[in-house]
């Protein structure tokens, strides 16, 4: 959520159970502004909190010109000192999936080790290699994956101009009440999963779409169906979307106003049991 709207948007997502204490809120408001100036971000967002056994990580996201591609993540243990997270590449993703297990420990220099020994076969000798990964790397990969999978924005909040640059839509007036009840009106703010084979749409459907606004994946196309919970909270005023795939991600939007945002407060593990539970 935007650093400028932190003080009221935290109340909107509090329905999920986790808020920040007043001390943390105050510290965040000041330090995020300092962060924006020192890194020269256009916008800085409080992305969320990854809970660890000993300490929690506070994650902030800075956005530059292009909202979709120009993103940097920073983490902090006390809301004041921020450290840049390395960007996640394919090799780091593979490393993390090989080595990291269990919950986050809370120490950025902790090293996860996992010995992997392939099955003994007659031809090859048993080679067991040890997979090691840093907790900082695991954090950056987790944050990147969460954004890829479950970041949410309402339709129309971001537009892409003909240069391909994605930026905030200043004349977004919010979704209407009836639009906010449908999952189609929400999009993922991440690179499209299959840019080369987009889902085939009929000519009638294409007529309703606006190429400036509908260049992102729709939430209702997510697999498995039912992995989002759409509710109205706070006396029915705020539209809340909760992800069941990454438990802890909450998106809020006040219909009729341009206020929206999402935050992740959870333990940073993907909920792979989801198909059993629906």
């Amino acid at each position: 959520m935007d650093a400028d709207s932190l003080f009221f948007s935290l109340d909107a997502v509090a329905g999920s159970g986790n808020t920040l204490s007043p001390e943390q809120r105050a510290a965040l408001q000041s330090s995020l502004l300092v962060l924006r100036r020192s890194y020269k971000f256009r916008r800085v967002l409080f992305w969320g909190k990854v809970l660890g056994l000993k300490q929690d990580y506070f994650i902030a996201q800075g956005r530059g010109e292009d909202e979709l591609r120009d993103r940097k993540y920073l983490y902090s243990l006390n809301c004041i000192d921020w450290f840049l997270l390395p960007p996640a590449t394919d090799s780091t993703v593979a490393q993390v999936s090989g080595a990291a297990r269990g919950q986050f420990v809370g120490d950025p220099s902790f090293v996860y080790e996992r010995v992997e020994s392939p099955r003994m076969s007659e031809d090859e000798a048993a080679q067991s290699h040890v997979n090691k990964v840093n907790e900082e790397t695991r954090l950056s990969v987790t944050v990147h994956q969460i954004d890829q999978d479950v970041s949410v924005v309402p339709r129309g909040a971001f537009i892409r101009n003909h240069h391909g640059l994605v930026h905030v839509n200043r004349s977004f007036a919010g979704l209407s009440e009836s639009e906010a009840k449908k999952l189609d009106s929400f999009l993922h703010l991440s690179e499209a999963k299959n840019p080369k084979n987009p889902k085939p749409r009929s000519v009638l459907q294409n007529g309703e779409l606006n190429p400036a606004m509908d260049f992102l994946d729709v939430l209702s196309d997510d697999v498995p169906k039912g992995s989002w919970s759409l509710q109205f909270e706070s006396a029915g005023r705020v539209c809340i979307l909760r992800s069941l795939l990454w438990l802890g991600l909450t998106f809020y939007h006040l219909p009729g106003t341009p206020q929206h945002g999402y935050v992740y407060i959870g333990d940073g593990t993907k909920h792979l049991d989801l198909p059993f539970m629906l």
């Binding site: 909107a12 986790n18 204490s21 297990r101 919970s229 049991d273």
Partner: protein, 504 residues
Amino acid sequence: MQSAASFKAFLLKNSTESNLNIYDHLTQLLMKVMDERPHNAVDVIEDMSRDVKRELFQDTQSTLRDLPQTTDAELLAEQQCLLFSRQEDTDQEEELAETPLPNVSEIGFYLEQAGVGLGREEMQRIFLALKRLVETQALPRCRLWGKILGTGSNYIVAEAEYREGEEDEEQITDEAPEEEGREAETQDSEMDPPPQSTYKPPLMVPQEAIGTGANKFVYYVCNEPGLPWVKLPSVSPAQITVARQIRKFFTGRLDTPVVSYPPFPGNEANYLRAQIARISAGTQVSPLGFYQAREEEGDEEDEAPQDSYEVNPDFEGIPVTEMAESLSFWVHHVQHILQQGRCTWVNLAVKPEEESYEEGEADEKEEEPDEPEPEVGPPLLTPLSEDAEMFGTPPWSSRLSSTLTPQHAVAVLRSNLWPGAFAYACGKKFENIYVGWGMKYAGEGYSPPVPPLPQKEYLSGANVTETLDPSLEEEQVLQEALEEQQAAQEEMEETEDEEEEDDD
């Protein structure tokens, strides 16, 4: 003059096509120029003229106006306004006396310090709804247990003590399916009976009485504060055992069936109650010394775990830093649920009462050779340092709410086994709360239990076991033998006939 009047009349004549006249049009155009004062007006006059014509479009508004539909939010808001109404007939003296409700704003404040909570306004609404619950149901004591999130809507759960003299409405009876078996026997006794099933369903563990064990408190739920509270049924050990094996999201409607394997005996209301019982047993903690075990008089034959405790009047708070550092200053104050699904163990191998009366001696029951071992759980008020680790993670994480002002901080305990369970303590005050999805941390992944092997349909016996078919050689040998036998018999018959003929 007259030519001017007639020219004006000509100007006022309406066009046949668009029902406009040039007089009005020019008036409006000049008024527009007057208002807007454009730069180089003469160059843009044609565009302005076209704009004036375009602005003339008026949508026809009928005299009927749409009634704005009441949205769901407005309906809920009406219900919630009722929360804020005060009853006029209560005396103020009664209200100032002890209320069964805890101090509402204080708990909300401490929870916010701990980083847990539902937002200030929502907490306020919830507490007013609790107040209404206490008034309508006349409960002796009540507290907010927490909130369970669901896919369709959420549940706000309140924990309360039973009223005195309340009896359990539902009673799960042990209907033996053997009765049905006996009926089937009598029907088929004339014909060849199908093989009897040797399946004996496992004996049902009896439910605990209300006020004891897992049913010590009664729980009320509602979807939103302001909506009416619904009482949850008591929990049975079978439900707890199955709830331990399944993993399902809650949908928000209490009557949804729970489709799972092993099949859950009940609908979502029962599943919710079972999970609440498990969470309470696992995560309700208090500072060491806040509660003390109640001393019971009289001898007890079995070493039944004490399930009663009372508030210790001599409790002085433990310093917050110590509470945040070590887990031995916290204790469980809810009984642990045994493997059986109950808090006190019940020996199921005891013979039913009818047979014991026939035997006449009750002592023989205890001498059963294959008596199962009694299950023992940790006694009440055990410290948290004895909690077992699961999947390599410590069961609890503790910290102070503020590192900058530790003098006034709150010690916060967070459960890693039940994500969403929190406890805080500050001086003499403490509270537990659960806000989460209602599921236990399952480590790597959940794999559903495998169904049992299919049972044999019939007992193997003489006329049921398969034998090998005889081979071709054996058949031929047998046939030859039979033919010889037949031939011999025919010869004997022929000779008998001949003899008879001879006799005649």
